[in-house]
Structures are given as C-alpha cells and as structure tokens.
Amino acid sequence: MFYRECGNYKDTYAKDMAIFPIPLDRYGFIVMLILALIVIPLIATDYWISSIMIPFYCFALSAFGLNILAGYAGQISIGHAAFMAVGAYASLILYGRYGIPLLPSILGGGIVSAAVGTFFGLPALRIKGFYLAISTLASQFIIQWVIVHWRWVSGGVFGTVEAPDMQIFGWALDTPVRKYYLALCIMILLITIGKNLVRGQLGRNWMAIRDMDYAAEIIGVNLYRDKLIAFAVSTFYAGIAGSLITFCYYGAANIEEFHVMVSFALIGMIIIGGLGTILGSFLGAGFFVLLPIAINQSLGAFMDVVPSDILSNIEAIIFGGLIVLFLIVEPYGMARLWHTIKDKMRLWPFPY
C-alpha cells in the first residue's frame, strides 16, 4: 500500500542501478541519517553516546568487513577480532609514538591490518570451508601471541597501549559527542565505499566465487586475486573498526578486548543479521551490542528479589535463547525478515 515500485518509472540505467531505486527507501535512509547525525547527539546522554552508540557503530563496521569476506566472497574468518587488534595497535603506535596526524594514523591502522590480513588470507587460495576456518582461527592466536610478546608493539606483557588525547587539525576530540562524530563519519564513509564495491564488478566477482568458484574462473574471474582482495578489504575494515573503537571508546589498546570470543561474536552478528547484506551487519551488531543492555535494564526490576549472580546467568540464558529463536524464525537472518516485511507491505492489504 505505502511501499510500491508501481508508478516509479526508471528511464535510464543509472536510475535503475541507484542504491535506493524506490523513493520510500531513500526517504527512510535520509531519516536514519538525520537521526544519527543530529537527533542522537542532541538528546542522548554521554553514557548512551560513548558506551552504546560508538561501540555499535564500530562493531557494525567490523561486522560489515567480515560480511564482505564471509557473506559476499564466501570465505570464512574466525580471527577477525585479531585484525581489529592489529588496526588498533598500529594506529595507536603511529599516532602516539610517531606523532602522525589522527586520520592518517587510523588509515594506517587499516592498511597494516589489511597487509596482515592478506598474508593470513593466503591459505584461502588452496583451501575453503572448515579447513579455512581452522587456519584463520590460527591467525587469531598467532596475532594475539605476537602482540603480547613483541615488546615493541605492546610495551610489555600486559599488552596495553594507552591512547593519547586526540586532535584533528589542532581541534581536540575530548567530549563523547566529538568522538561520536568521528566514529560516525568514518563509518558512513566506509559503508558507502563498501556498498559501491559490492554492487560493482568486484562484488559480483566475489559473489560468483562464493556461489560456484570453478564456473567463476571459467568465465574469467581471477580467483586468486579477488579472494586476496576480499581478505584485504575485509581486514582493512576490521582494522579501521578496531582503531576507532580503541580511540573513541576503550581509550587504550588492550589485547583482552580483542579476544577470540569477539571473533565469534562478529560471526554471530553477520549470521543473525544476514549474510551478504549491509543492513544485516547493522542489525546483527545492534543485536549483540544493544540487546544485552536492554535485557540487563529490564531485569533490573528483579534486582531485590533475585540474587545478582543468578540474575546475570538469566541474562545470558535469555540472550542465548533469543539467538536460537531468531535463527529458527528466520535462518537467513534479520535482514531477510525485513525483506519479507517489505514484500508483505507491497501486497497489502491482499495476502498475495
């Protein structure tokens, strides 16, 4: 009824190939932008901005990076948190120790992470599926070990590097709102770039590799090159996300924040959110970042009745139960659920 392609005629290929060919989608996107750019910084408390929204954006960015690799190119990685750590440490060292300006430092973190990621992507040229999963799991532990034991990087066995105060062109990024804008702007920029990549030739090649690799090769896709590019781009995103979350939220690079559980959480995000969709990366990150807080808040009412250790177990049980529930309801993720809703809206009020 409200959501239709009808009467929306496209007379050029450019219009047909736009990111949001349907006007309502376009308006919806603009509303989301206004929310994120203006409304949230105005009304949200500092706690909301710095401990909920910034991690949400960073994890959405990292999940999108993993989605490029797993959802689009069909290569799995169980070591993605380690690449976030590489980006975090690299950008902190560049910024804090060598005094390189903030934005180039963050970019540098991404580039170093991409280089390391490409190296650990090399096994993908010969193996796939479970075997690749194990080899990337190894990358998680290797990177973790190297960061902890290489004194030049971590400055000792605690593996912690403090983030200095941030400045862009002499302008201090000291309040949560300013950090929020930094994370948000970089996130929007990178998601836009990523969208262009996945809808263009490279994205099609990736999907071709994912669906039928030998047919892709026969039609002229350079398997080796495009798989490695997928690893590079994906770990670049992870590196940027890692450096953003460290600068804007953690305040110090600590290897414990990039543990293997974070890698599993990232995989959980893209599976719950929806493989091979951008929306899914956000929904999945929202699920993993916002939902535990929501559960925690809503259980707060029982604080007096139930002992707190049992309460925190209940929290975990509810969260785990919801993961299972969502996967049963829609195995293809929350993004697919959204598409189903849109399809229903298109036909409303008729059921078919």
């Binding site: 770039i193 809808r199 030739q201 099609r204 669906d211 896709v221």
Partner: protein
C-alpha cells in the same frame, strides 16, 4: 565460400589419463571460424573431458592446443584462457545461485570491464559509465534470449529450462571468439529444445559466434551442425558433415552395437 580458413582452434594429439583410465587417446580436432561443430559419442566417450581441456579446466598429459594460431602454454590458468576468448556452459548447471539473472550475466562481462578497485569504490565517472555501458550490453543479450521477465529473479528460484538459458546468456555476455556448450538441451522438453536450437542458430548466424557443442539428441545435432566429431572410448572414430556421419559404419557400430550394424 568454401575457401579453406585457418581453424580458430586446433587440438593436436590430446591424451589424458585419470588414474588408470585413458579418457582421451591422441584425439585431434579442429574448430573452424563461424561454424557450429558438434562432439557426439556414447556416454563416457570423453566429450566433456575434451571441452574441459579446451577451456583449460584440465591439463592434457600429451598434445597441444593452438588457439588463433598461437600455441597455449602448458599451465595456463582457466581465467586467462577465458580472457583469450573462450566461454562455455556446463552440463550440470553452474549458475551463481545467490545472484539475480542480471547479476549472473553481468559476471559474464567481467573480463571486458577494466575500472580498478579505487574507481569502483567511489563509483565515480569512469566506473559508473562502464557499469552502465555493460548493463546496456547485458540488456541486449537478455532481449536476444527473451528472458526480460526474470531479470531480477534470483537464479536459485528459476526453473531448470530457464537456468540453462541464463547460463547461455552468461557465456554470450563474455563475447567469446569460441563458445563451448556442454549439452545445452539436456533434460528439456521438445519445445524448450526448439527454443535453444533457435538461439544457438541465431547466435551463430546473426551474432557470428563460433560454437562447439556436445549434444545427445541426434535429431538436433544433425539439423543445426555444420560438422560433427564422433568420440568413442576416448578415441576419435569419425569426423565429417552430418550426412557423412549418418552413413559411417563405425558410428553406427558405436551407437547400435555389432549386431545392429
């Protein structure tokens, strides 16, 4: 008309062994520009193996392939062979099931697109222009194969006959100099077979493609092909025009057995 042209592809004394099985034994064949050539033979004769060697999926143990007058290096990657201008379809469908029809066919043009990753990331001038140009070319192929209505349908939701057609479209999109079709009509009903036969003829006559195909339906093969190569147990037993093949005692023996001849 009848002047002898240099063949676009010449395979000389191709042999390949899988384990102990000699799948092809010193088979030579030529494909001339502008013709429709068929490779036929009983099951297990080595027809698909031959196609796999021509497009580089397998490396032959012996023999050489000369494409457009140049000998192919021993270990050439299939995507480079595709870049030389050989495209194919598969016997058991190999569509990219997660993509739409449009996406599938666009992948076929990947070799003809040249914008680099940074230009694609910004989707700026050159990249967008290229994308639109190729989209237009893909639309012409969609029009040619009459699959406009399934343009946006995911390949996984298409019925078998249409999948075969989309696969043909993907191969045509690469604008190959040599098009290899592995049983394009297998498992189809009469009407669908007629459609595909018409598309193959049109691709050959209107668009000027050189085509080599494998097909089991003798009626179709005899009707649309200019020349036929017959394989049996990895050896070439006959070669010639449809009429010659029909009358060849060796071919009759291979297909019908001793008593039938």
């Amino acid at each position: 008309m009848n002047e002898k042209k240099e063949p676009i592809l010449r395979a000389e004394n191709i042999s390949i062994t899988f384990g102990g099985l000699k799948a092809l034994d010193r088979v030579s064949l030529e494909i001339n520009p502008g013709e429709i050539m068929a490779i036929i033979g009983p099951n297990g004769a080595g027809k698909t193996t031959m196609l796999n060697i021509i497009n580089g999926f397998y490396k032959p143990d012996e023999g050489r392939i000369i494409f457009e007058g140049k000998e192919r290096p021993k270990k050439m990657k299939p995507n480079l062979i595709a870049a030389q201008g050989i495209a194919r379809t598969f016997q058991n469908l190999a569509l990219f099931t997660g993509m739409s029809t449009l996406g599938n066919i666009m992948v076929g043009r990947t070799m003809l697109m040249h914008s680099n990753i940074f230009s694609q990331a910004l989707y700026w001038r050159f990249s967008q222009k290229e994308e639109i140009e190729h989209r237009a070319a893909v639309e012409r192929i969609i029009d040619f194969l009459q699959i406009e209505n399934i343009r946006r349908t995911p390949a996984s939701m298409l019925p078998y006959g249409l999948r075969k057609r989309v696969e043909l479209a993907r191969a045509l999109a690469a604008e190959p100099k040599l098009l290899l079709l592995d049983e394009p009509m297998a498992g189809m009903n009469l009407e669908e077979k007629e459609d595909i036969a018409r598309f193959v003829l049109d691709a050959n006559e209107e668009l000027g493609y050189t085509i080599a195909l494998i097909e089991h339906d003798m009626g179709v093969v005899m009707d649309i092909c200019d020349r036929i190569v017959v394989l049996d147990f990895g050896e070439k037993i006959a070669e010639g025009t449809p009429d010659e093949i029909k009358a060849d005692p060796k071919v009759i023996k291979a297909y019908l057995g001793e008593a039938g001849g």
